[in-house]
Amino acid sequence: MKRYIFFLVSLLLFATIQIVLLRHLAIRNVTPDLILIGVVYFSLKHGPTLGIPIGFFLGLIQDLFAFGLFGANCLIKTLIGFSVGTFQKRLVRGNIMSQIFVVFFTCLFQYWSMYWIKIFFGQPPPQVPFFVVIFYPVYNSLLAPLLFWIMEQWEKLWGGGVYAPERNRSAI
């Protein structure tokens, strides 16, 4: 039960911080994407079984508060939760470089999948300036190690690895 409460509180907390606070850290309209980093963190730490629902619900919250195709973020984040969770064993999880690498590529994946989903559903493709397309993954991947550390401390407050499956107990 405590496990579910932890994830529910985390989802609400991440979404609230993203909506209310992170705009203040924006550099030329590029805001840190805590929702995406949250999905990557939970998928890396807990595997795809948790990565998929967390990706879906964080994507749903994002869709609720954003404009555009409703359901697109659910789909993208579910896929990110699955793929990052599936490859977790191959990634050196304690390595800062691997955290930067994973976040960088998931940012790019998110942008391109949104582009193609919009085209598939007959919508005009997102008009994002070239600088943003490049700077968005760079900014988020550089912030990833710090945010991963904060999330780990947050999880420890709730009992840390106790809630993680046995094989995933090692710290990210």
């Binding site: 609400l12 979404a15 609230t16 993203q18 909506i19 209310v20 606070l21 992170l22 705009r23 924006a26 030329r28 309209n29 590029v30 805001t31 994407d33 929702i35 795809p48 079984t49 998929i52 629902p53 990706g55 879906f56 994507g59 749903l60 919250i61 994002q62 869709d63 609720l64 508060f65 954003a66 404009f67 555009g68 195709l69 409703f70 359901g71 697109a72 973020n73 659910c74 789909l75 579910t78 896929l79 699955f82 998110q110 942008y111 949104m114 989903i117 559903f121 997102p126 008009q127 994002v128 300036p129 943003v132 968005y136």
Partner: protein
């Protein structure tokens, strides 16, 4: 055992992907709309509470710093009062002249609008859209396409009322003077929260005109700090620093609201139209409160 786990995982993925696809396909359907409104209603309080707490903390800090700089501010304000009094006299003269001319021309005035303040409680969490979340919605009588404006304090505090040089690069939120300016329009309303599509969003377009020459065009968001004024005639009279206002066409925004100032004049494709890069008067990143036009 491993195969069983793999099957379980695949089942889980298919379920969640199917739900996502169904949401995408039936996104405009009644059930999805009701579900969205319900979820938004349930989730809306948390950003509102945090935003309120933050603004309270901000106000305490603000009062302390205001106390410290009160003396300096007083001096500046007194100087400003003197210049404003002079300006007031000039304006009174212009108003009476305008009234007289309107009487002569039998001009019918537009209905004045009322403003209702709303607090900015958040920003949309997406790279692909620029929007604000405000704490007013259907319960307060605000629905889709209601215009939203904001009061902008000009940053040119050293020389109030002095327009920047034409060669000077304009900064967002600092074009020429203080005043009310367009922020965007409500694009979705919840019971006590609404999403405001900003004029800077690439999906935003509104009818506009050049205040000085009355040339009409369309102002579009670019997803960046600046806006694009397009569909002007190739011979349009347009200069750097010209004020761009709403034209009233399109019937969402009343005419005469300031949008921003021309930063750069551009040639359209093939020279068939004139375009301009416009800097919005409102600095959206600094917005804490907005006004909704009733």
């Amino acid at each position: 055992m491993l195969l069983k786990e793999k099957h379980k995982l695949l089942r889980l993925l298919i379920i969640y992907l199917s739900i996502s696809f169904l949401l995408l396909i039936f996104r405009t359907g009644r059930i999805v709309k009701v579900g969205r409104a319900l979820f938004l209603y349930l989730l809306a309080p948390s950003p509102r509470i945090v935003s309120k707490l933050l603004s309270e903390t901000g106000r305490i800090e603000e009062s302390i710093s205001q106390l410290v700089s009160a003396r300096e501010e007083n001096k500046i304000l007194q100087e400003r009062i003197t210049s404003l009094l002079q300006e007031k006299e000039k304006l009174q003269e212009t108003i009476s002249e305008s009234k007289r001319l309107k009487r002569i021309l039998n001009y019918q005035e537009e209905t004045p609008y009322e403003l209702v303040s709303a607090r900015v409680v958040g920003w949309t969490p997406s790279l692909f859209s620029s929007a604000l979340l405000i704490d007013k919605g259907i319960n307060q009588g605000f629905e889709k396409d209601t215009p939203v404006v904001a009061w902008q304090e000009g940053g040119n505090s050293q020389n109030p009322g002095v327009a920047p040089m034409k060669s000077e690069r304009l900064e967002v939120g600092n074009p020429q003077e203080n005043g009310m300016a367009v922020v965007g329009r409500i694009s979705e309303s919840g019971p006590d929260m609404s999403k405001v599509l900003l004029i800077t969003d690439s999906n935003s377009e509104l009818a506009a005109m050049v205040q000085r020459s009355r040339e009409k065009g369309v102002i579009a968001g670019t997803g960046e700090r600046s806006l694009l004024l397009k569909y002007l005639s190739p011979t349009a009279d347009l200069e750097i620093g010209d004020l761009i206002i709403t034209s009233g066409m399109g019937r969402i925004f009343p005419a005469g609201l300031v949008i921003g100032s021309v930063e750069e004049v551009l040639r359209g494709v093939g020279g068939l139209e004139k375009r301009a890069r416009v800097v919005p008067r409102v600095n959206i990143n600094q917005l804490e409160d907005v006004q909704i036009i009733e």
